[in-house]
Symmetry: D2
Subunit: 217 residues, 4 copies
Amino acid sequence: MHAAIAGGLARLLPAAQVATATLQEAEHGLTAERLANTDVLTWWGHLAHDQVADEVVRRVQARVLEGMGLIVLHSGHYSKIFRQLMGTTCSLTWREADERERIWVCNPGHPIARGLGRYFELPMEEMYGEPFAVPAPEEQVFLSWFEGGDVFRSGCCWRRGNGSIFYFRPGHEHYPTFHNETVLRVIANAAEWARPRGQWVDSCPNVPESAEAVAPK
Amino acid sequence: MHAAIAGGLARLLPAAQVATATLQEAEHGLTAERLANTDVLTWWGHLAHDQVADEVVRRVQARVLEGMGLIVLHSGHYSKIFRQLMGTTCSLTWREADERERIWVCNPGHPIARGLGRYFELPMEEMYGEPFAVPAPEEQVFLSWFEGGDVFRSGCCWRRGNGSIFYFRPGHEHYPTFHNETVLRVIANAAEWARPRGQWVDSCPNVPESAEAVAPK
Amino acid sequence: MHAAIAGGLARLLPAAQVATATLQEAEHGLTAERLANTDVLTWWGHLAHDQVADEVVRRVQARVLEGMGLIVLHSGHYSKIFRQLMGTTCSLTWREADERERIWVCNPGHPIARGLGRYFELPMEEMYGEPFAVPAPEEQVFLSWFEGGDVFRSGCCWRRGNGSIFYFRPGHEHYPTFHNETVLRVIANAAEWARPRGQWVDSCPNVPESAEAVAPK
Amino acid sequence: MHAAIAGGLARLLPAAQVATATLQEAEHGLTAERLANTDVLTWWGHLAHDQVADEVVRRVQARVLEGMGLIVLHSGHYSKIFRQLMGTTCSLTWREADERERIWVCNPGHPIARGLGRYFELPMEEMYGEPFAVPAPEEQVFLSWFEGGDVFRSGCCWRRGNGSIFYFRPGHEHYPTFHNETVLRVIANAAEWARPRGQWVDSCPNVPESAEAVAPK
């Protein structure tokens, strides 16, 4: 799955350097040095969320707040890193029933929707339904319609610290979702949208400003 | 239609004083005096948006900014007052095909969803689809699923000035939507949510503050 | 300090039951049973943030998401619970210089500003300055002006899950801030604003919906 | 004044084509053709807001919703176009007293703050104070501190339709504010931030979707 995503991004974003990291690698492949050189991180996970080391989660969170973009895919809604950044449970409802999903663009001028039509479809996907327990999205890009009668806020944007976060719903492991050209296009667009916007380093609060005070005592 | 809504509100909110106003009345029934004594105004309109006097629209807008709640129903999305308060086109897509609508609660802890289950259904309604051209909702209460394959942000909250605004999608004139008990419950909940929160009067900007200045020149 | 706040709340909100809990108590006085019976929790802390047990923080977070209001005071910006709910560092700049603080109301219609004038002053307070590393506030109630040349977003509102969160800046332990009548009024107003809005319990995502599916397979 | 701004932008954004338009020109220099070829419009106005033709305001609003960026400067807060896009009064308090203004960066990672320090100062400016009657900013970039004891949300971002809107406070006509290098840098940064993000044309709501319906009747 990570190979499919990486391959798609490398093809659609020829100027980008694309690499992968997996749970099994030392530090899950997310060393401090590597994160420091990463502009945007894409995260997919499912059954093994608890096996992700808290130390690595803290490191990724710090790097997002420093400016790295984060794209959370599908069951990554329940990852430690996403819950940590949202502050909420990030729960939802779900059903595995080989359902058709129709993903609507509700913000057609948003850069993440660039090049898309009014909607696109995935012939079979897992269903995710509301309520999606996240903070109110700052921009809503996609909403999903499911054959079985459910809806979902499928593409949501937040800014946290200097970092940009995009949650994108599709991607169940039983289906060829990450071989779908539009899905890859969305992830590539999101990677461009989520690129670091600024270089500010949060230097802790212990910085007395007396030298700059207007009327120092 | 206004009678059905007013009757439902009077029954569900026994402490409230409920009255109606229509386009045909002088000043559409929305005189300055009457608005000054109104806590929450419910607005439905369809073909005659252009017949609403600009003077009355300005008066209603001023009263909302002063603190009056506003509940905009269905085709009221295209009313002058809603467009004026949102600043956008408020456009959407639509289809009349006697479709089933399933309205999902995506914020079950919100007061407007009080007493509702996970969703409720209307057996036949007009379809409204995305993109819904409004500012990002500050709180999203409902999302609609339509039999024909569309979705819509059906319950949206905004604060403007001192006023609270709720848009609620259902209510096509061909269907008995405003006789549906859950629809009336939502409007009653919204009326409680949208009650004035504060009494501040916006006194124009021409208020020099020199008496309070720390270091007057 | 907790006694001053509790006394003020008991006086200003005569219908409320007010109690205190401190770090030194077993489970910091925040047992599951006690939290379950709490509508709004006020949090002040300074040097001992690290001594707050992670288990208690998780419990308080869960209860906020369930609907309990949370009012975070002053140096509580750096508490585990506030950082956990915000997802950011919550850092700021600071200076101890016995400065005058003028707290401006920037949303006079907001219920937390009820009964206040255009601003109020504290003759001496610690300075907190921008950047305040939190998610964009959903409503901004207060901004502070400091004699020494700094500004700060002093009153910020967020909704997380079913819970309402208010951060209020003043309250350094060297000054009689919590004996100031306006400060107590703000906390009392915030306690009313932050009361639970809904009763929904987040029941984890493992809830297949097949019985309700429109077209079950 | 427009010459100073245009000159600064031309220097700081050498790839940009910069031109000016004034009230006195036919259609205020904002013809449909010209707007169609404009990516970002900067708006300053003071005493003559009422002389701006409603037809031109509607045209500019439509073009913003289509994707053009809009930067509103200083007393432009009271322009028809800004009030139209915000939906609120956009009022504030003010005082002319040759006061020092210190403008703080409260979102240092935001592209509009690129290249700035923690704050910058204008030795003399008109004071603008809270409450600033606008919808809650989606991103807050600057806050102002005034010598006389006031504060103001000096740099505010909103998205409306496809368009990006930035309000920037400084710029009273009695002072050389638009010759200040940091002020020009902010406007140039804002012009880059506000460039059109998407090409979607809002095609009115009258677009039945029956051909795409899942289950047409």
